[in-house]
């Protein structure tokens, strides 16, 4: 193949390399020690890989550590304050660190975090590439990396059927617009019912959930950690974490998810019966509740959703109001909506929102 890539006319294939990418092995390679996990890996390979053919400077592993409670119906959580404190300390010694903290279920109760170390940092140079800390609670909703409401076309459900018909029948662009609303409604209810079923089953089976951290490491760094499991293991829950009753957690998620779903589906019925003029605001109300529902049962990067996070955003000359969940979290540790967002009786936005472009 190398000779081929050097032939005239085929030099664009020069420098080609093979990459081995083995993934989703965590359930197969679980052990009480790091060395044990490595042994399981080599056993699994049964001599399938000739390690001499690998590039010694480019071998990486994802090492996972999970701390789980032995009790039934116990859920471990990272403390958000500890995650932030730890991040602050790492940031001091890690220039260019990119971190993201995903808040959980519109609360400050816990969070997931990812850390991507800059190529110039000492961590990266020493072989630590990327870290993530998360709750396996999210696996309740993971269907082979398809998460509920992942279909980006679901936003079309926020259009009134009349507008939708107009859109589909208008000109050549409309002809290409082949979205089936019935299919989207099914997609929505499938996601919704899947979330509710997963939570019900977790309550019924008194499931427990631990905490997980996973680090992408160079092979050299992995080797230096291989025999040090005892130094970094926990026989008791670390102080940076705390325990909650799983049933309480799942009941909370269930109700939190339902209240926004109810508001969204209440709006959907109004959208079907409204005039074209009324539909604009109702569509925006639908989109607001949809964003909230998507954030209500798992981890989300709320900060990236300006309409939810800020109480006001500047877009050019315009000031766009938002739900200000940042402040609500600081006061109530929970994202309550301000009563001034909507007229709950008439089901319309209050003036400040109706005259803005929020949730457009």
């Amino acid at each position: 193949m190398i000779t081929f890539s050097e032939r005239a006319g085929y030099t664009h294939f020069q420098e080609m390399f093979l990459l081995m990418n083995a993934k989703d092995l965590k359930l197969q390679l679980k052990s009480s020690s790091i060395g044990g996990a490595w042994e399981l890996f080599t056993n699994m390979l049964e001599g399938d890989i000739d390690f001499n053919c690998l590039d010694e400077r480019f071998q990486f592993l994802d090492l996972g550590q999970e701390v789980s409670c032995l009790e039934k119906s116990a859920t471990c959580f990272f403390r958000t304050c500890c995650l932030e404190k730890r991040l602050w300390e790492i940031r001091k010694s890690s220039p260019g660190l990119k971190s993201t903290t995903y808040s959980w279920a519109l609360t400050t109760a816990t969070a997931n975090q990812t850390l991507a170390y800059s190529k110039c940092s000492s961590q990266y140079e020493n072989g630590l590439i990327y870290s993530q800390l998360y709750s396996p609670l999210m696996s309740l909703f993971d269907a082979g990396s398809t998460y509920p409401f992942q279909n980006s076309s679901l936003d079309y459900l926020s259009l009134s059927p009349e507008i939708f018909k107009l859109w589909q029948s208008s000109g050549s662009g409309g002809e290409r617009f082949q979205v089936n609303l019935e299919k989207l409604e099914k997609s929505y209810t499938h996601s919704r019912d899947r979330v509710l079923l997963a939570l019900k089953a977790a309550i019924q089976h008194k499931r427990s959930f631990g905490i997980r951290q996973e680090h992408r490491l160079s092979f050299q760094l992995f080797n230096s950690l291989k025999h040090r499991s005892e130094e970094i293991g926990f026989s008791q829950l670390p102080s940076s974490c705390y325990m909650q009753n799983s049933e309480e957690i799942c009941h909370f998620l269930y109700a939190n998810f339902l209240r926004f779903g109810l508001a969204l589906e209440y709006t959907a019925i109004k959208l079907k019966a409204c005039s074209v003029e009324q539909s604009h605001d109702l569509s925006r109300i639908f989109r607001m509740f949809f964003q909230l529902q998507k954030a209500s049962f798992s981890n989300t990067l709320l900060q990236a959703q300006g309409n939810l996070w800020n109480s006001q955003t500047r877009i050019g000359e315009k000031r766009v109001p938002g739900l200000g969940l940042k402040e609500k979290l600081a006061i109530y540790r929970f994202c309550w909506l301000a009563s001034s967002v909507m007229d709950w009786n008439k089901w319309v936005f209050e003036k400040i929102f109706s005259q803005s472009i929020a949730f457009n």
Partner: protein
């Protein structure tokens, strides 16, 4: 937390949602909405603060370790000691599309004659899925072609059919013909085009319902090549 859940459950209607049904048409009062979404009622205008009960920290835990992924560059196909299952018409859906936080150096010749070294994220370098190792479908192999990387189209890792055809028909398949015995070769599709037609054969040739011709489900065909 239990207090907030209780508040929600008190105000949520018991008939919602019905499985597979979209939409809620019964009336819900503004007081109910205020309680559910704002946490307030006529008797209490301040929403409750979320309290998490402190639990006993002395509960015993276990710590387990695992290796979830292994990513490595390989020098040649001999890395697959026991053989590899090859796809001659690879699916671009198997491309690495998310950031795996690893980089590879690619040299770029500048008009001045100098050479600039770019650190390019792996998921931006043109590549394709070649197949997987004999022992597990989880041990996948990719071919990376940094020579096709274009600074101006950094976010596209796909390889055109034209380049795939060149790579297979002029590079890879002749090498197989040279090294594999005839009893193996007789089972393989020996061109990129015939391999591409084979993967759609089941989807396009069987069945009686009308579908668009160019669509049709792929059949992920792999062919085993021994490591010996």
């Amino acid at each position: 937390m239990a207090r907030i859940t209780q508040l929600f459950n008190y105000h949520l209607p018991i008939d919602s949602p019905e499985p597979e049904i979209f939409g809620y048409s019964r009336r819900i009062s503004s007081q109910q909405w205020s309680s559910l979404l704002c946490g307030i009622s006529s008797g209490c205008l301040t929403p409750p603060v979320l309290e998490m009960p402190i639990q006993d920290l002395s509960l015993a835990t276990t710590t387990t370790y695992d290796i979830d992924s292994f990513i490595a560059k390989a020098k040649c196909l001999s890395v697959a000691s026991k053989g590899v299952r090859i796809q001659f018409s690879p699916s671009c859906q198997k491309n690495i599309s998310s950031d795996i936080h690893l980089f590879s150096k690619i040299e770029e010749k500048l008009p001045s004659g100098k050479v600039h070294i770019n650190q390019v994220p792996l998921h931006h370098i043109p590549h394709f899925y070649l197949g997987h190792l004999a022992s597990s479908v989880h041990l996948t192999l990719y071919v990376f072609l940094p020579g096709l990387w274009n600074k101006n189209v950094t976010k596209n890792s796909y390889i055109s059919n034209h380049h795939l055809q060149q790579w297979m028909d002029i590079g890879f398949i002749p090498a197989i013909l040279q090294h594999c015995p005839a009893d193996v070769v007789q089972h393989l599709p020996l061109s990129f085009t015939s391999a591409s037609m084979n993967i759609f054969a089941r989807g396009r040739e069987l069945g009686i319902q009308e579908t668009r011709f160019e669509s049709g489900k792929r059949q992920e065909l792999h062919y085993f090549l021994s490591g010996k």
